[in-house]
Subunit: 354 residues, 4 copies
Amino acid sequence: MNLNYLRDTQDPNQSTQTVDEERRNFLTAGLVGGALAAGALVAGGAQAQQATKATDPWWPHPKWGKDDQAGASNWITPAKVLDSAKWIKDGKIYRVGRVYDSGMPFYGKRTFQIRITPVAASFGTNKLVGHDEFVATEIGQTGTQFDGLGHIGVQTGNEGDLKEVRFYNGVTEYDMIDAYGLKKLGIENCKPIFTRGHLFDIEGLKGRMMEVGEEIKLADVRAALQKQNMKEEDIKEGDAFFFNTGWGKLWMKNNDKYNSGEPGIGLEVAKWVIDKGAVMTGSDCWATEVVPNPDKNLVFPVHSELIPKNGIYNHENLDFTGLIADGKYQFVYIFSPAPIKGATGSNGGPIALT
Amino acid sequence: MNLNYLRDTQDPNQSTQTVDEERRNFLTAGLVGGALAAGALVAGGAQAQQATKATDPWWPHPKWGKDDQAGASNWITPAKVLDSAKWIKDGKIYRVGRVYDSGMPFYGKRTFQIRITPVAASFGTNKLVGHDEFVATEIGQTGTQFDGLGHIGVQTGNEGDLKEVRFYNGVTEYDMIDAYGLKKLGIENCKPIFTRGHLFDIEGLKGRMMEVGEEIKLADVRAALQKQNMKEEDIKEGDAFFFNTGWGKLWMKNNDKYNSGEPGIGLEVAKWVIDKGAVMTGSDCWATEVVPNPDKNLVFPVHSELIPKNGIYNHENLDFTGLIADGKYQFVYIFSPAPIKGATGSNGGPIALT
Amino acid sequence: MNLNYLRDTQDPNQSTQTVDEERRNFLTAGLVGGALAAGALVAGGAQAQQATKATDPWWPHPKWGKDDQAGASNWITPAKVLDSAKWIKDGKIYRVGRVYDSGMPFYGKRTFQIRITPVAASFGTNKLVGHDEFVATEIGQTGTQFDGLGHIGVQTGNEGDLKEVRFYNGVTEYDMIDAYGLKKLGIENCKPIFTRGHLFDIEGLKGRMMEVGEEIKLADVRAALQKQNMKEEDIKEGDAFFFNTGWGKLWMKNNDKYNSGEPGIGLEVAKWVIDKGAVMTGSDCWATEVVPNPDKNLVFPVHSELIPKNGIYNHENLDFTGLIADGKYQFVYIFSPAPIKGATGSNGGPIALT
Amino acid sequence: MNLNYLRDTQDPNQSTQTVDEERRNFLTAGLVGGALAAGALVAGGAQAQQATKATDPWWPHPKWGKDDQAGASNWITPAKVLDSAKWIKDGKIYRVGRVYDSGMPFYGKRTFQIRITPVAASFGTNKLVGHDEFVATEIGQTGTQFDGLGHIGVQTGNEGDLKEVRFYNGVTEYDMIDAYGLKKLGIENCKPIFTRGHLFDIEGLKGRMMEVGEEIKLADVRAALQKQNMKEEDIKEGDAFFFNTGWGKLWMKNNDKYNSGEPGIGLEVAKWVIDKGAVMTGSDCWATEVVPNPDKNLVFPVHSELIPKNGIYNHENLDFTGLIADGKYQFVYIFSPAPIKGATGSNGGPIALT
């Protein structure tokens, strides 16, 4: 996600009309302009209350400690790897990442550009020639993207105060910002993921593609567990959670709709995922979470719960087609981020192994 | 590798002095200007003869067929994965890729640039902020890089004739070239690698860092096998071969020397690797092969043998420090390239699992 | 223009249907796929004959000599500057270049990307802060673009033979190509333009925006001269020629239509411009020439006549709104290209001064 | 200049030793880490006092008004152009900008990258081919660079508070920041420069290249005026001021020294320039101002005086060789920035016309 060019006003005097206009702009432009009129808080439910805790310190991390920068990837210990490897049964590899292509849907104004350099004269009696590609892109935030801990933070103080913009473990924007790569929480701190993955096929459960703004509820997750012959008690700490909504069918078929919002989990399932000790989440959508959120006051609240507050990673724009075709809902998930110093995320080629 | 800006003259009247000057330029500039005076061919030995076969058709590929674009990654079948997985014994993951950093040594004029975009206003009552990175680089050819089949070809006809510049399976430059991504042989065609890896620690064998231009001979490889308590007959088709020369100790410590050439395998070991049915090679150097080649007429001849002629991949700028410290020379090697459409290679985070 | 990803078949057996399909693809995609069925040549008129001279040597340049790389910018001598400066009468500067913006229409897959880097800590007791932008773009071929002599060439021999791809003064692709900047004919060789500009307002003449594929004929140019109270005999060698079609009204208003083709000059006016000794042409379109050309066998024939064969520059995507509003059709045209070593063109801020 | 990755501590308890270390780092790394020990203020003279006014509001601009975004370029009126044009006497154009090349010296980690895309198949019976370049760079801050009003600001409140980072006319970072281009004060707001330029050849005056940290004093400027047969009273409002130090002789000859600091003007001459009503300054150095400043507490104080406080532009890395060879110290200076929306500066091809 890139939220830099969006603007949310906290002005309590802002009229509802303006709010609605911003909402409409969001729906047409595929961007998020979650706006707030002070009065709207009255209507806020459980989620809104959770959101109002935004400024409560979530650091230091109770399990990984105050200096940790690896977050939930710390779950991936040798014991965890060995236990996960038990799920390698038929040796089949599923590529669950998408091909990187300039025609992909992009969030906001992000881009993916590739240019090939030319072949010219040959070298040696072996007459060798070669050429390269040149890529310019938000590398951790385009296509199949793995959100790192430097991507999302929370303004915990006054608007515009970089010393009170907090990320995972309380790291401030002021301390980590650098034009040439984040000084802290770069994706190079994330340990390779080799764990047990659970796929919840909500599209399959509902028998249809989910729609924009449609939230995956915990009841849906549990129904999917049952339908897929899985047991909630089999889920272990450090496992990965994936959600299939059907939204991915729009990929490069209807990019405008794909970008217009998405179905996904809300704070209810996010809390469940946190309680289970997830290493990461993932989905066939661009944010994994429902957009817009049913609580209009909240903007990507699942992101702010999972990433800065709990150090849980998120893999976006995945493709579970092959797994679902084969009825494979549990697998070894393998993804080792490209350790790009100071990056907010990583590209790559995630695989599910059965 | 990028060879575009280099120029090799085939002019038989070129004086030896010019050749030597080009060689010196290469040694000081860290680039390769392998030059040839016609008379020099007299001195050519076995390798030169191999090189003179440059224009013999190597296509269609006898095992993978005329339309194949996946090359040696076809070795990675479910059976191969299951067999490889037997080597998962202690669950330890070794990161064998290097951190991507603008201060890395680069071949020629390649670059790796990262810029962070700014955080601004927050969104929603959850006060979320976010930022991205923007990367501009030869993504498949900088840092830890995985050479794909669209990277290296051979001029099989007249200089400058794109219809006789051939890559793997005989694909011509004329048919694959496109400013916005190769139309054939892009890295997205490579299947994920999950195989048995064998590491030959030649630095350990010799008790010292190898030097620029020093070739790893087959006798060295066999001596390393013995020293490391490994057996040549245990090597199977589809395995991966890694060579540690010690050259990697120069990484970001002495980039000029690192780029000035390198130790590595020559055509002798390359032929052995091909005969063994390798899926890929790799090393702690930037080309895996000895540079300059002992036969001065040849420029990156191992590249032209492995990649276009045999479809074998090559992983460069790896780091085996952790594996060697633990005495681990055999492991499961896992690397799933980022499927960048039309790219010549891939970045990523390769791991060795024991 | 970028034509790399387009493919024109010369196969005389190609069916007309395929040709028509390519044409339709062009019209919908905004790209040019000028196709040729051998039989179609029968219908070719004067232009086609001119086009069939494609392979006749046009080098060395009869006026500027065999080693020249500056082309028609050689017209800009001190005497020419002094004579042009006589047209400075009221001191008014018109900005005739457009603002560079990522939302501009682009030819094919070109792009213009800008990212801002963040402000962080301040420096010194003066508490200075700063930030930069990072731009990634086809710098000489996006937005208001000034085509240089390394941009367009002609295949004078067999398809795919780089030794017979010729540019201005006969320079071959084989001799100039380099992944990191053209070795010859880079835009740094162009001398600053300070000359007399003549604007032909064909939109004003016709009382409407011209349409896609509508050619500006010499009769139109002469009618515009008369309507604008200008005399053909006042045109001097080294002057610049500008054409207003109205097409520019679509800029960032209807990019799809803007890119779908354009009105502009054809070979008739191009020949007249060459005969007059033009230093450059320019227009409010993206190619200055009519697209598609009325002769379906020709693809950007004005480009191949002006640039490689005559060394005449071309400024695209200009905006004459201010000049026309003030009835100013003659002015001093000032454009000094950014001397980007080895680039095919230049961005910048051209001005007309009256 | 890019200062984002630098850190200046305001800690009054910081030891002098640390300060000196930072200074040494600056001298070796070519970056600026102007540091401050509270006690050092005692030694501060007139400049330091000027610097302590950093937080006094300098907005709205007394002459151009509170909403102005064009700054000193407002001086360039038709009357000014006409008056300047009187200096066109011999019609000679001097290119005073440098060639853009990846081998240029860069401030900090900035870069200039150019890649050429390949020629492939030809089009039409006219057999046209073409190719482009792709450039990735801090376009307004590399090579010959024209600093705009969005480049430099001042922290007028607490460190890290974006609402108290002020630029020209008091615009705050919080209001202008956007990942995809500044929302205010972008270089597209600058009017084209066509004015009278005065060159002060201090190298010529002193008979030697000036040295790093050597300040051009007002006495030097006046001595140069006399030596060059120019009169101070001939300088008019809206004129441009250029300083030749000889430092430019290091360009691409000794980049390390070139970047290690530079000679240039200090606050004394800056004040004089402001009083004269300059539209812009320029030099053959990378910052025009003396680095490090003789007052160790100040970091680029001339930048913070000229740009945010007075809206005066600055052209860096110019080359006056041709002008000085011809003894031309007064000329028409023509530079029209590329109107890149939201950029901090511009590349281009500035010219001096006599």
